[in-house]
Symmetry: C2
Subunit: 82 residues, 2 copies
Amino acid sequence: MEDKSEWEEWEVRISYKPGVQDTEGESTLKGLKVLGFKGVEMVNTAKVFRIRGEVRRAEIEEMCRRLLANPVSQDYEIIRLR
Amino acid sequence: MEDKSEWEEWEVRISYKPGVQDTEGESTLKGLKVLGFKGVEMVNTAKVFRIRGEVRRAEIEEMCRRLLANPVSQDYEIIRLR
């Protein structure tokens, strides 16, 4: 039987590289202005994946390169939670 | 002239409520398995908005309720960065 207490837990944050257009952030900014939030000046977005299992950091990095992030336009940050 | 050093900066994290299907997490898990990452057991996703401007916490909460989160299926967490 699997012992889930031994699972590792990682958080991967995918964000746009500097200079790459964050279209969702831009449209969110416009939407907030339309709703009357006049003070908001900038919105950026990022995606978070929380990954659990028997996985080592090297595998998480490989996941980022092969599936989670677009290496041309996105950066990734890996944090070990458990 | 606007003094950007006085801008506030907030981070809003939108995640699915417990029991709500995280379809992107599920399809990411399947994709990772197909790629050969056998040890991964669970993937959850969340969305992060980083918001800058002259905005108070009460406004950030209103943004979450009105635009950023779906109150039926999503929770939001607000962190002040600056």
